[in-house]
């Protein structure tokens, strides 16, 4: 109940107060919230959220997928605005984090320059990962979203032209992120791990129209890693590439995503992917999903491999709110690197945007 109380207090208390002081044409408040609960019905644990290490166990838990975020856009002038997004995640004990803080400068109606702190746009759902209302699942398929660095500080250029009947987007970005006591790595290594991703340079290309969209993503950079104050990796080159395609035909949608992560100096090569099919019947959308994480076995014993089959239902019961129920079955096939073993999870959530 504490969680729900916090969210209600936050929404009913803080937002209207900020709104009352904000002049509509100078400041805009938006937000999102997800209240989720789940229980492992077979097995011991289920890692629902890799970046924030949101674990479910055999007791009913509200923490792993519950999130709240408030975004404020302050307009400096017609071309410039300042954007801040503050989030609180159950998986992080409801600590307040600054996920986004950047200046947005409109060069012309198609080109925008952004500088500051943003989400790292590696995967299709990376930059709206926490806004569960925008997708059918309770969380994006876990096997596919196993990144330890989710944000970066840097510069980003966004170009959004129209190509005939297609909407296009090209996003070029560069920056770095220093993660002290990284949550995911510190949990997996059972030690303090400080991780730095630096000299990152990435490009995202999107093309979409009513029935189809495709997204290509590439990023390369360097990695430093310190475990228990000992530098174990420095200036290690890493690369990421991915392709996502989404098809929409009347009420049917088919979503796919495949990604490749490489760190040759450490002999690490990982493939991730997912496929999901959904069919909307009025306000109800049932869906089926399969996702996989597959590391090419290496001499160091790296053999992480897990896959998940999910079945779920989304109900858009009221404008801007959705109720979801989902059943996930994860198979953990890693012999040396096992995450949590096989498990089945039942979870429910209520997602909203405001």
């Amino acid at each position: 109940m504490k969680i729900i109380e916090k969210i209600i207090i936050f929404i009913l208390g803080i937002v209207p107060v900020i709104n009352s002081y904000a002049r509509a044409d100078e400041m805009q408040i938006s937000g999102f919230a997800s209240v989720a609960a789940g229980k492992v019905v077979s097995g011991d644990q289920y890692l629902a959220d890799f970046p924030k290490t949101g674990f479910y166990d055999t007791d009913v838990s509200f923490s792993p997928d519950t999130s709240l975020g408030i975004q404020t856009i302050a307009k400096v002038n017609t071309q410039t605005s300042f954007i801040i997004q503050v989030v609180s995640h159950g998986a992080n004990n409801y600590e307040i984090d600054l996920d986004w803080a950047y200046v947005n400068f409109i060069i012309n109606p198609e080109i925008t320059l952004q500088a500051g702190r943003k989400r790292l746009p590696l995967y299709y759902y990376s930059d709206h990962f926490d806004i569960a209302y925008t997708y059918n699942w309770i969380r994006p398929p876990s096997d596919n979203y196993t990144w330890q660095i989710t944000n970066y500080n840097g510069v980003s250029l966004v170009y959004e032209p129209n190509i005939g009947e297609w909407d296009a987007l090209v996003n070029i970005y560069t920056g770095r992120e220093d993660s002290q006591e990284n949550e995911l790595l510190s949990t997996l290594f059972a030690s303090r791990v400080d991780e730095t991703w630096k000299n990152m340079f990435g490009i995202v290309f999107e093309l979409s129209k009513d029935w189809f969209d495709i997204r290509l993503t590439m990023m390369q950079g360097q990695l430093d890693r310190i475990i228990d104050d000992v530098k174990v990796e420095e200036n290690i080159k890493q690369q990421f590439a991915g392709v996502s395609t989404n098809f929409f035909y009347e009420s049917l949608s088919l979503l796919t995503e495949i990604n490749r992560y490489e760190r040759p100096a450490s002999d690490i090569y990982v493939d991730t992917g997912m496929i999901s099919i959904a069919y909307q019947i009025n306000d109800i959308t049932p869906h089926l999903t399969y996702s996989i994480f597959d590391q090419v076995p290496n001499a160091a014993g790296g053999d992480e491999e897990h896959s998940t089959r999910s079945i779920g239902l989304r109900w858009d019961f009221i404008s801007n709110m959705a109720l979801k129920i989902q059943y996930d079955r994860v198979e953990d096939k890693g012999q040396v690197i096992s995450i949590v073993g096989d498990a089945n999870l039942l979870s429910v959530s209520m997602d909203m945007v405001f």
Binding site: Q28, S30, F32, Q71, I73, S81, I83, Q85, Y102, N104, I106, N108, P109, E110, T112, Q114, R119, D127, H128, I131, Y133, T134, V158, E160, N162, E165, D167, K209, D210, F248, Q280, V353
Partner: protein, 153 residues
């Protein structure tokens, strides 16, 4: 022979009746089905391209020469809203909502105002002459205080 002739004549009459009915129904539909971009009568907004209209309604900034400050989604007539989605935005209601939400949180786009009552929309446009919305041509022709900027479909 007489009977056959009668049937023939009746067929003709039915065909003529159906033709007239079809003509009138199509004309009525054409008026109802035409959609226009509107602004307050005193607005200085000039004619803009359909591509520009689509851009501003999916959250991209308006180009300076258009003089448009921001768009307003007219949800007072669901039929017109659905046609606007299909003909101008070329997406479903769910797809449009998803696109707007993603743009707000990914790129810090401004929220697009949605108005659910015709009277409120008219009052809003009169108070904000640099803003635009859409409605059926029939509705625009019969409403005082607004002007048609551009035919959309």
């Amino acid at each position: 022979m007489k009977n056959i002739f009668d049937i023939y004549n009746n067929k003709k009459i039915i065909l003529i009746f159906l033709f007239i009915l079809n003509f009138y129904s199509n004309s009525t539909y054409a008026v109802k089905a035409s959609g226009v971009l509107v602004a307050a009568k005193e607005s200085r907004i000039q004619k803009v391209s359909i591509i520009e209209v689509r851009k501003i309604f999916i959250g991209l900034p308006a180009s300076e020469p258009s003089g448009i400050r921001q768009p307003v989604i007219n949800h007072s007539d669901n039929e017109v809203y659905q046609i606007f989605l299909k003909k101008v935005l070329r997406m479903t209601d769910k797809g449009y909502k998803r696109k707007l939400i993603k743009r707000i949180f990914r790129q810090g786009s401004e929220k697009i105002k949605t108005i659910y009552k015709k009277d409120e929309l008219l009052e809003y446009l009169r108070e904000n002459p640099d803003d635009v919305s859409f409605m059926s041509k029939e509705n625009a022709d019969n409403t005082a205080g607004i002007k048609v900027i551009q035919q959309l479909w």
